[in-house]
């Protein structure tokens, strides 16, 4: 017991000696990051974010994999952690594929809603355009609709505004294919009267 206490004290002292370091358990920090990261994360990037060594992070990742796989008496989770293409990401565990498949089918109707179509049209004629700008034209929040369009591959993230960080969206070739045209220039002109009055009609096609 005494030894344990001493060890704990030593650890605490070490922690104190580096006061800037965030006292985050590596595994918990990894769970937090991987839960919201939208693409696979390299070990280096994870280590940087957590201010740990690559080796520490690698070990922690291995422990997490084992944890979720239920190999050491833990619960075998519905998700798993996998390294794919040099990055780590949460995936649905293979044996739940059918459940998830049915679910995602139910989530993706085969037709776009009127709201999605209108948003797509705004993006097509005003691209590249930020979500905020779309929202102000449509006078509604368009976040989830834009996500649907992204998911459908009809629009893509063109760039982020370096100052505001706002992502600007553009349409994809898939939209052209669906419309049966070869370039955006073939989109019918729309009445200039109805375009945004603020900055002329140069960019309305």
């Amino acid at each position: 017991m005494a030894t344990e206490a001493t060890e704990a004290a030593t650890e605490a002292a070490t922690e104190d000696a580096t006061p800037t370091r965030i006292p985050v358990d590596v595994e918990r920090g990894l769970e937090a990051i991987l839960m919201i990261a939208d693409e696979p994360q390299s070990v280096v990037r994870l280590a940087t974010a957590l201010e740990r060594t690559v080796a520490e992070v690698r070990t922690a990742l291995e422990r997490l994999v084992a944890d979720y796989d239920g190999v050491a008496g833990t619960v075998r989770r519905g998700f798993e952690l996998r390294e794919v293409g040099g990055g780590w990401r949460f995936y649905v565990r293979g044996e739940f594929d059918s459940v998830v498949h049915d679910f995602s089918l139910a989530q993706s109707p085969t037709r776009l809603t009127q709201a999605a179509l209108e948003t797509l049209a705004v993006i097509a004629y005003k691209q590249p355009i930020s979500r905020g700008a779309i929202a102000s034209i449509r006078a509604v929040n368009v976040d989830s609709v834009v996500r649907t369009l992204l998911g459908r591959g009809l629009v893509t993230e063109a760039f982020s505004d370096p100052e505001t960080g706002a992502i600007h969206y553009a349409t994809t070739d898939l939209l052209l294919t669906q419309l049966g045209i070869n370039s955006l220039d073939e989109l019918p002109h729309i009445s200039p009267l109805l375009a945004d009055g603020s900055n002329g009609f140069d960019d309305a096609r």
Binding site: R111, A124, Y125
Partner: protein
């Protein structure tokens, strides 16, 4: 009846008290409409609304006005005047001390005062509730939730999109999307029946003053037979002042208001925009 509703004296430390409560300027910069203004005044003076002294408020405002120098501040002050005047117009009778309760008319006035009081309390309740909204929104804004693209293998399984639109259909949808969604304007009509056009009254005031002779407001409203006309004419005066077309002198608070024409150039076009804020 009426006065049974007045136990709640707004306390100074209530959440709606302006944080940097120094002087009139604070109420001016933070005010958010007549109720907001009145509320901050009441808070500041720890006054029951039914006891609020309009002349005291006016005094303070006028002394504040004297300290103004920049045009921007003047503009703010004018906005304040418009709002304050609207409020006064709205319930001035209800706010002023009425003395003995003698006849039915007095009872009606007291009821009007009661109504204003209730509305002010209601406004205050929502203002306080808004603090709860601010806290909740702030707390949640820092939270991060999972929202990541579907794994590739599931994405590939998503059913094909059924697409039937021609480019022309698509353009029609675009037209629809770009058509401005009209929010019909709501003026201050609900505060007083829009029977009188401020623009018309402004035209009248302009006609009266343009010849050069200063006139008192009393003279300007001589012969006006309806309260609405007087109010509109007063608002017209404020609007003209805001447009830097007239100036006025008032030697003492609540004293005679003398108005003179100061515009160097004026066209009838200038009239067109007057009163636009009021929806008529």
């Amino acid at each position: 009846m009426a006065l049974s509703l007045s136990p709640a004296k707004p306390s100074v430390d209530s959440t709606d008290a302006p944080a940097e409560a120094v002087g009139f300027s604070v109420s001016l910069r933070n005010f958010n409409g007549p109720f907001d203004l009145l509320l901050s005044l009441i808070t500041k003076h720890e006054l029951d609304i039914t006891e609020i002294s309009l002349s005291q408020v006016t005094d303070e405002f006028i002394s504040y006005l004297r300290t103004l120098d920049s045009a921007e501040e003047l503009d703010q002050a004018t906005e304040f005047l418009v709002v304050a005047a609207t409020l006064l117009d709205l319930k001035v009778v209800g706010l002023l001390p009425q003395g003995e309760l003698v006849d039915a008319e007095d009872v009606a006035l007291l009821e009007a005062r009661d109504l204003l009081f209730a509305r002010l309390l209601q406004y205050r309740a929502f203002k306080e509730a808004s603090a709860w909204f601010a806290t909740g929104l702030d707390a949640e804004a820092s939270r991060q939730f999972r929202s990541v693209p579907l794994e590739e293998k599931y994405r590939r399984q998503t059913p094909e999109l059924v697409w039937t639109l021609t480019p022309e259909d698509f353009a029609a949808i675009a037209m629809l999307a770009f058509t401005p969604r009209e929010l019909p304007s709501v003026g201050l009509d609900h505060l007083h029946a829009p029977l009188v056009s401020i623009r018309e009254q402004a035209a009248f005031v302009v006609a009266m003053l343009r010849s050069g002779e200063p006139m008192t407001f009393r003279q300007l409203i001589a012969g006006a037979d309806r309260k609405g006309v007087i109010v509109a004419r007063f608002l017209a005066v404020l609007e003209l002042y805001r447009g830097a077309l007239i100036g006025f002198d008032q030697l003492e608070p609540l004293g005679e208001l003398t108005i003179r024409w100061t515009a160097e150039s004026f066209s009838d076009d200038s009239l067109a925009n007057l009163g636009a804020d009021y929806g008529n």
